[in-house]
Symmetry: C7
Subunit: 82 residues, 7 copies
């Protein structure tokens, strides 16, 4: 999946319709399916779960996440391999 | 409702006149009917309720919410299904 | 009052010369008559009262409020109906 | 003094050469004569006094105040009438 | 020195080669000779002293100060007169 | 590796496909292989490890890091020589 | 070294290939040789040392420092003369 990444947004493009982990400022963490993003790194996730200590805290379904609270975004598949 | 979402703002467009949950920085949470939004993610909600621990803390009716304090916006219908 | 709101600033336009509640970051709250606003959500309020626990803490008369400290703005009339 | 205020900066214009109260983030408060302002709400005050609990903490004379730390600006004359 | 100040930057221009007090966010305070500034309020000070409780904490000589941490800038001469 | 660095982004360009240490605000630290960056200093790292007290806290594989939470980025090779 | 400084960036230009002290928000301090800077005050330092209480805490070699966490930058030579 790391192939063909020339610019940072390429990773988000490669991750569309796949599960991603999104870490926000203030220790909030979300897992969901990436449906859309823009250059401000605003995201739409589907089947979003708010996580806490690796457990599901809340199901929030479809979600619009504002880019400026995001620290990092990781495709879940590359995490699970570790 | 996840169909046809190409860009993040499409979800907000699909959510117009529907109930949404808005999570702000500093743990404030609002539920209301989305009437309008702009590219700064400024929102107008109607019948807005400030929530705390899943209970209504305050009714604030029609409200203009500044985009830069928003963490996420979720259509309530997709949350309730879970 | 919710009629005819296409864009978020329409609500501020409809609220001119009416009483609004303005919630700022850091738990400051103001009530006053909205005289003017701009696209940065800078406001001018008249007969402004700084509120604390639903009581008037300070009368600050005419006031210029910088937009970037604002969380939400609500016309008082729509709050009172609840 | 509230007459003729169409845009927020009109209040600052009306307040030139008059005493204003300036509230900054982090609970700092200044009183001084407004000499100049710009669209970033940078201000120059003359005879500036830093206030604490309604007492003068420090005289800082002529002062350039950066706009982005300002919460609100009030002409002193409209406060005293209350 | 307050004469001829039409815009906020005029005060900085009048203060060139003079001693200024610069108050930063987070309670840092510097005194030095203003050599240069730009529209971002980035400054260069010479003979800069970091102050704490009116005493010199550290001599840091020539210094580039980023504008976005600055709260206010005061020419020292107008402070001493008080 | 310090040769030929005329502009800050040249160091990031020289560090592509090499291991870098990324220090974030709020004391988070990541080590990974730099795959891509843009002018906002958004990064993509591969084989990313979140570090704490020099130990691996979490493997997060491929990661998109938003530039605005970054304090510094160091090529690991130049750290190890010390 | 203070001669010929017309604009703030002139001091950074004069400091190229010289040792500088960089103070960041959150009390982090770095000393290193300034190799490059841009208008965002992003820096590249060589032989960078993270300092704490005037002692070297960590050697981080070549480093890209993001401008928006910087409070001030001082050429070390002008500090030592004091």
């Amino acid at each position: 999946m790391a192939n063909g990444i020339e610019r940072p947004l390429d990773l988000l493009n490669n991750s569309k319709h796949k599960e991603v982990l999104v870490q926000l400022k203030g220790d909030k963490q979300f897992v969901g399916t990436l449906l859309a993003f823009d250059i401000h790194i605003n995201l739409v996730l589907d089947n979003t779960k708010e996580m806490q200590n690796n457990e599901v805290k809340r199901n929030i379904g479809l979600t619009f996440l504002r880019g400026d609270t995001i620290i990092f975004i990781s495709p879940a598949s590359t995490m699970m391999k570790k």
